[in-house]
Symmetry: C2
Subunit: 228 residues, 2 copies
DNA sequence: CCAAAAGTGTTCTCCATACACCCATGC
DNA sequence: GCATGGGTGTATGGAGAACACTTTTGG
């Protein structure tokens, strides 16, 4: 019926990289130097090699663009509109990544292109169908954050309760009650009290916590389901 | 950096088709006639044409195999292990479909191959990485069923409360309390009481209901979230 | 001493859960 | 009349939501 020699779409990956800048959720974009969409901003991405999985391709692109290794990375969706790239048929597997912005000062990418962080509610016009990709990514992040402890991937190793709450408020787009939020998150036994405090703040300093990944895995085995 | 003329992986779609047979969740498999994996069972699928989206390719394959149109169809995940197909590099975008088995008596496919429904807990060995695809599909179905009203896609238009409950029990793999289940599902106002009853059963006949899609969409607008 | 954020308890409402018996129908 | 599944109500406990003031610290 079909032959392995039929014309094939080109296969690429695109990466939506989320970072948290104080109270603002941001994504990393790259300004395109060439046509099509020269001057427009786009997600970092590139072609999938014959000897790598799409996930490896995404990791490779991420490292090339940001130098970051070992970040949270998850497949998002595969975009295949026939005319999504004016140069020809290109199917793209999109991934999204969560990075700890503080740890890595990604000012510009390794290559000549301009790379910048943009607040998710102040994006420039995006190239290709990247606006669609962004919408799907935002929706996924919002959904996942509620029932999986992935928010910690956006925070520094040591963080305060207010930082987590700010994160949740930034992503979910609504205010949460401080007392109820703390009660809930502490009752899950997923945070280790580091017996340390913030430094260099002009007010009462907050206690620092760390996410207890091991206990999360152990609890998960017993049927525990994270939810906020 | 990259050229559009680089070698490209082949691109296929595979479809996990779920159906409900009384109390049993089943999937449709096709027996392979040729090598590799001749005689093994596999999900229906095929190559993506240059002028169709992956979703259209999946729909086309589904129609070719089952004759069904307009079923629930959703992208599942893209599988890209380098050696997943012994014939060469093939990346596959998997979809899953929910069909009303009663409506369509899919005994065998249009073409010569053997197509059969298998209970999900009694599957034969599967070709390629289709066991992985199946695992992801089951997990997705279980997850989605709880917070989106997609179960109705597996039931006839008119169904009884026991039928929905059986469906949930089959997919989630556990018994549910009859009174609590009914209370919950009726309280959502998503079921229209058709003022009709089952026929041809050797016991008290049950009331028939229909899913109220319009009201679901209206409620969703107002922030209602389905959950069982 | 002032500004700024940290930290903390109680009440109420509502929803999930547990649980057992009678009813209608066809054979 | 009996076997089979249909259909129904209540009591309890626990979790989510609402809500405001005191504490600490640096400047």
């Amino acid at each position: 019926m079909y032959s392995y020699e039929y014309p094939r779409p080109a296969l690429t990956v695109d990466c939506v990289i989320f970072g948290l800048d104080k109270h603002t959720l941001k994504i990393l974009l790259i300004q395109r130097a060439k046509e099509p969409f020269a001057g427009s901003w786009a997600f970092p991405g590139g072609f999938v090699d014959m000897d790598e999985t799409t996930e490896n391709a995404a990791k490779r692109e991420l490292e090339e663009e940001t130098g970051i290794q070992d970040m949270f990375l998850e497949q998002l969706y595969t975009f295949s509109k026939v005319d999504r790239d004016p140069r020809g048929r290109v199917v793209s597997v999109a991934y999204y990544a969560l990075v700890k912005m503080q740890d890595y000062k990604i000012s510009a990418a390794d290559d000549a292109q301009d790379a910048r962080w943009f607040a998710v509610d102040q994006l420039p016009p995006l190239a290709f169908d990247h606006q669609d990709i962004f919408s799907v990514a935002m929706e996924r992040l919002r959904g996942k954050l509620r029932y999986q402890p992935i928010g910690f991937e956006l925070l520094p190793e040591k963080f305060t309760l207010s930082q987590i709450q700010d994160l949740y408020e930034a992503v979910l787009g609504k205010k949460l009650d401080k007392r109820n939020f703390r009660k809930k998150i502490l009752s899950m036994n997923l945070l280790v009290d580091l017996q340390e405090r913030q430094k260099g703040v002009a007010h009462r300093s907050a206690k620092l916590y760390q996410f207890d990944r091991n206990n999360y895995l152990a609890l998960q085995e017993k049927g525990f389901v994270f939810e906020i």
